[in-house]
Amino acid sequence: MKEITITTNKISNMVNGHFHVWGWEVPLYLFLGGLTAGILIIASVMAFRKKKDSFALSSGKLSLWAPFILSLGMVSLFLDIKHKLFVWRFYTAFEITSPMSWGSWVLLMIYPLSFLLILATIRESYPGIFSFINKFLSFLKLDILFRKLTEFSEENYKIIAGITIPFAITLGIYTGILLSAFGSRPFWNSSMLGPLFLVSGLSSAVAMVILLSKEHKEKSLFTKVDIALLLTEGVFILLFLIGLATSSSQYKAALTLVTGGALTSSFWIFIVMFGLFIPALLEVLELKGRNINPKLAPVLVIAGGLFLRFIIVEAGQMNSWLPY
């Protein structure tokens, strides 16, 4: 028997008997950050597509979503931080050992890159918006600068895309590293979380393309890509679990959270079943010509990506080195 009593109360980090400081804001931020990374990777890769493919969404319209989704994520993060007036302190230091510091600076780079990426295709993708901005800026006598910037982006489309790819990959991996760097939370303390979150973010972005695209060819290409990504994600999750299972006792204890413990059903049902297996199956059947609602699989993939962040953020907090 081992009975531990805190006879004098401890700090208020405990909720329902376990450590809990991060609520919905952080996992939502991690999901939206990963989705942004996925969007930018797709939009950049498409810059290098063969000329004959049009792919209006993925090669053009898609990139406009990036800054908005990222901003939504940043708002979510801002809601989570507790000393809000001091948020600017993220940008008065660069702490090499802190993933969060890396993240805040990467985010700062992502904004200009995504704007340049948008400008590179804006004339084609959003002619209405382009002329509106032109008109609006002409009042401020800034329209020439805007056109020059657009021309610059169009001319350097591939270079911009080439620079964006590594930054977007860093962003995607960072959303996982943020958690895996915490040695004090055994469930998170796995280097698999970086690639897992990157692939998951990418697959959510691909699902978004499938959901929004109006071209059959684009849809079917991305459906194939998505099947591959979901498979990869499944393998990464398996490796992640094996990693916990073959580590020391505290990590094994962390694993039990999803192998019989409190989060078992939500992990296997919402992430593995409805987030990976079923959408992959639906997509395969769809490619084989079965008549399935085409929106179902991508919606499940996106929801699965969201659940993955929520459940992993929760699980990491539920298993600590100390039970108090």
Binding site: E3, T7, N9
Partner: protein, 676 residues
Amino acid sequence: MSIKVSACPRDCYSTCSFLVSVNNGRIGLIEPHPGNRATSEGICLKGLSYSERVIHPDRLLYPLKKIGGEFVRIGWDEVFSIIASKIREMHEKYGPESILYYAATGTKGLLNRVGPAFWELSGGFTSTYGDLCWPSGLEATRLTLGENKHNAPWDIEDSGLIISWGKNIAETNIHQMKFIENSLKNGGKFVVIDPRRTETSSKADIHISPAPGTDGALALGIGNLLIRNDFIDKEFIKNNVKGFNEYKKTAGKYTPDIVARITGVSAEELAELSEIIGKTKPMTITAGFGMQRYRNSGQTIRSLIALPVITGNIGKKGGGWVYANLQSHIFDAIVDPLAIYPVNDKENIRNSISVSKLGEGILKSKDPPIKMIWVERGNPVTQNPDTTSVIEAFRSLDFRVVVDQFMTDTAKEADIVLPAKTMFEQSDVINAYWHHYIQLKQKIIDPPGEVKPESEIFYHLAMKLGLSESDLKGKIPPPSDEGVEEFLKERVADFSGLSLDRLKEGPLPAPGSRDIVFDDLIFRTPSGKIELSSDEAEERWGVDKTPEYKPPAVSDKSDLPFVLLSSNTKNRIHSQFGNLKMISQFDDPSFIHINPDDASKKGISEGSSVEVFNNRGIISGKAKIDFGLRSGSLLVRNGRWMDEGGSVNFLTGQIETDMGYGAAFYDNRADIRRLS
């Protein structure tokens, strides 16, 4: 920031010396004064929480008068007029003895004498006798050894064996733990005898858990084995002990089998215990107050004292009987327990109500009946036995005045509530009952709001009653810091080596006090020897001359299944301190402790809402499964307020102990049920 010397005046063994840091009139961190060897290491959490207590938002800062059930702030002049006219009315209608002056042990100090002095000057009053806390142990010690004194606190460092008997040192006398640990480092052994597993017993080499209230039988059983195995000091007995043969006869009846049946302590445990006591020298027994809160308790304590006596441990370095050390009670003409016994020959004081039977005493009082009560330094509604009866008695009176720092359950029953000072707001000289230092509790800050120290309240009342300054001289100090200082100086002046100026620097050992006591082998008993057989015990209390064991009332299991224990916690001094956030953050008084086996029989689990009840009353709380509690007992913390689930004394009877006029708080049974 400045640092001031002071000392804690609470009713507590340790009576710590303080170094108080003061910042802009606010009490800050309190650190230990190195000059008090008994408490030089640190301050307990209650002492540390004074910083909050002084400025607590609930503190009473103005005189209050109850009008239509609500308390309304009134001025001092008005309140003095009301009280003075009530006193006159009582004198005219019923006589002065219709006024009961009830003062408890909420704070120590020489200025506590101002109250009785005032009531005497006013024409007379009724007072109480007895004591709720420890008198049967005091009387047992007095009957056996002649005086209540023991070796210095640090003396046990030299003990070969320390027995903590019925005392949870880790909670109630924390500072003693260090000396025990030092003794263990020196190779000493530590035995704890307690029905509960506690923080203290977790440090022990041996923990013996007798059934509650059967300690006397256990002690006699040990004595029997000590004599049978020739572990006794015959030379010491021959020269210093009266009544050894009678004691031997009494103890001889307590064979290991009988002891096992009574106490639940096995013959093996008893043999081990008596062997370690017989073979380890020197041995000290340090006894608590809990086991002398049964009907048989005086005799219990006498049978405990017999053990260091027959093994020749009295008067030795590292040996002896540690119960109460009144060497610092130099200012009292009569020392406890005699000081608390009824005296009827004193002019103007009727000493007729037992504190153990306060409710009954008031309700049954005659010639004249009690009509008015003045309460200070106490909270009788929750702290005296049989709360229902105390409340009934309170409500039967015409006029009630309560002086307190907070709106206690007693204050709520009053017609007039007067705000009391804290320890930092008036100087006083205090003694102790574990170590032998005299200390000055210094005034450090001015009282907040309109708070007046009690001595000033009495001064102004005396003036209202038409007394003159000269009447009060030497009895009630004038209302100024200088007046108080003069009053204290006069008291201290009688003792060489003591002076107020020296006390301002730190604690001083009481003049005449010694680290080792009874080494002169002078015992102030009738026979001049240690009395294991006492004629006075029989004459005064009607008990056997030898410490014969009588089963406590709780051993009759016929009606209710549980013995009700109400021990103190480290977090409170009785009903004090629990209202502070610093304390309440980790003190949940609502817990009712129950053994896991009993809990499962009753369908109770951790945190269940439960009720504890007997024929006197009901209290409520949350169940706490306690592996350290013996099956068949319940533990409710002493000092709960009404809004914390109700005082445990709703369940205790108005029963006196066999000697000393103590209260048999623990000699009660109860039952528990789960609330749906």
